[in-house]
Symmetry: none
Subunit: 208 residues, 4 copies
DNA sequence: AATGAATGAGGATTCATTCAT
DNA sequence: AATGAATGAATCCTCATTCAT
């Protein structure tokens, strides 16, 4: 018992340090991007010496990738899943969009850092960028699945186009909120976005 | 004649040097962002020593701001103005969107750098960011003007919302193209975007 | 034993490195002043890379302040304390002055750097200047205490004036020695100085 | 006539530029010393480009030397010459000291810069330092002359010692004023200094 | 008499990273 | 599991100076 606790305590310390580092790194990287995130700044913010960061992470690239991974997970947690499959397609799509908007307001670091990484073109691509793009592709697929479920008549190409448009609109609206410093009704804009996508899907489904 | 010109060219041509520096800086900053743009890299690419860059620009911030300004101007030049005011509103809006899409494919540096600057939160805001946001606000206004002209029945609030949505969609679609490495039909996506905004405007104009 | 010590010595001896840096910095700063003391020069003299200096000192200002502090302490050590309280006031004052003169000959860095810092007026006052002025104020007070003890009849204002004059004379004579390159009998001049201050004190004490 | 005026005008412009440069340089060098005086700073303060400074002065060393020379001259002008040779030796010496004190309050740049140059030890001695030391030697001689005139019985060695002490005291009191930020009665301190030197001279003259 | 432009050397400081303990 | 110390490369920027005009 006691021995088990002691062992756990020690290991838990390691885990806690790792968390402290990541907590500091998300905050800095979410605001300053890859280059702007210095190990020294992370060290100062989390209270652990720089060399300790290298005990937990192979290098800066590894740290940033871990940041993307963890902030994606916490963002996933923040997105409230839609309840049961009730209501019209428009209602369901609108609720989903509003939920995403609210999650982005509460946890903006993930997408902000991800977009910064996505826009940069550096000689050796950071692993964090790859991770973000995978997450993005997954999201695209999920949206495509929802669209297919709601509009079975939709052609595969159109589903893909609409999913792309849906993700792009979300990114753009998020950027708009970042730019205006938060003084914007992101939920309303996402709901408008959902409606336009819904209408387009309806029209496309009817057209074929 | 020619000899005199040749001789003159070598030394002390401030305007040309400034252009050379900006040419190098647009390219680097458009790919790597603010932090990623080192004066040494710009110096290496333009051939002038770093100290000469400081003759033409007060500091790095000043340089980046000039980059934004100049690349915005060259982007403006690249956007082909729509011909006469002919065709239905949908046709006209679609043509405009396609033109913007084509200009972004040809001159992506302006928007890529601008978005990177817009997303970053640094202690002292770079002047380039301010410049970009102003340009963005101007663009928003222009779109609002076009919408008002095409849909006189539209309420002012709706015009603002739609212009915001139009800009955000453009940003998002641009990001998508950057992310996918250019293998996407940006013109088609912009045309779809134009159509959805047009439909929304029509509906909103009828609703009031 | 010895082998273990030898092996240990090589890496990571913070205290010794700090001393090496300070040793180099005193020498340079004592001769060249604040601006003339480049981190590169200190690095070259102490053998540690410039970046290591920044491990031990926050910045150049911090280094110079530490130099002032340490050189003041070693100067204090160099000033032989006067033995017992024996002899006439004149004798005792003269011995003190001679001791100070000898200490300044042996450890001139402290006062030379201090005076350079004191004379400069820079936008943001170096911390080393503040430290020096505090040390100076303390010295002034000690002299005032001695005068009060030796000449109880002396008015407080006169004690202050005489202490000021005593310190100023010491500074001026030190400057004279620095200017003439050491070819001057500083001890004799300090003894003359002590006698004149003594006579003035005697006269002032009698006058009230 | 007109031609002469034109010629004069042109030359006068050159002279005026030189003065503007020196005006700026005295101010900066008087506050920041040799290293702290950058050509760029002088250029910014006088409004002329850096290259123009090099038209008027060979190099930085030349400029600083000119600064010392000119500020010495303006200091000389500021020292009110004592009227006729009337009054007791003590009265005459006291008036002289008070005059010097007042001139130093009004024109402190000369001595401040001079002392900074005097204290620094740099590999190649600045010409300004040499100039200052010559001026200092001249001053020493003048004081010696006055002392010899007032106290004919004084031995040459004692005259030299007293002149040295007189100059050193003046330097030290000036430093004290600089250190305390001007909140000190420099005239009173100089008068005390004069009296102590006078008393010492009287005693020495009697002793031999 | 003056200056716009250029330039190489050097300024302070921060970087990501390593290593012995 | 953690860290104090070290380090070479890179950072932005200023330096004194030159030179063609």
């Amino acid at each position: 018992m006691t021995s088990a606790q002691t062992t756990r305590k020690k290991r838990a310390n390691g885990v806690e340090s790792r968390q402290r580092i990541l907590d500091a790194a998300v905050e800095i990287a979410g605001e300053r991007g890859y280059d702007g995130t210095s190990i020294a700044a992370v060290s100062a913010k989390c209270g652990l010496p720089a060399s300790s960061i290298y005990w937990h992470f192979k290098d800066k690239d590894d740290l940033i990738a871990a940041v993307i991974e963890r902030s994606f997970e916490s963002w996933l947690t923040a997105v409230e899943l839609p309840g049961d499959d009730v209501g019209t397609p428009l209602e369901r799509v609108t609720v989903m969009a509003a939920n995403v908007a609210r999650s982005l307001i509460g946890t903006p670091d993930f997408l902000r850092l991800g977009l910064m990484l996505a826009l940069e073109r550096r000689p050796t691509e950071p692993r964090g960028r790859t991770v973000f793009l995978q997450v993005r592709a997954t999201t695209h697929q999920k949206i495509a699945d929802v669209l297919t479920a709601l509009f079975p008549a939709l052609h595969a190409d159109d589903v893909d186009t609409l999913a792309t448009y849906a993700v792009a609109g979300a990114d753009g609206l998020f950027v708009h909120r970042e730019v205006t410093g938060g003084s914007v009704d992101l939920v309303a804009l996402f709901e408008l976005h959902a409606r336009l996508v819904h209408d387009a899907a309806t029209r496309m489904a009817a057209a074929r």
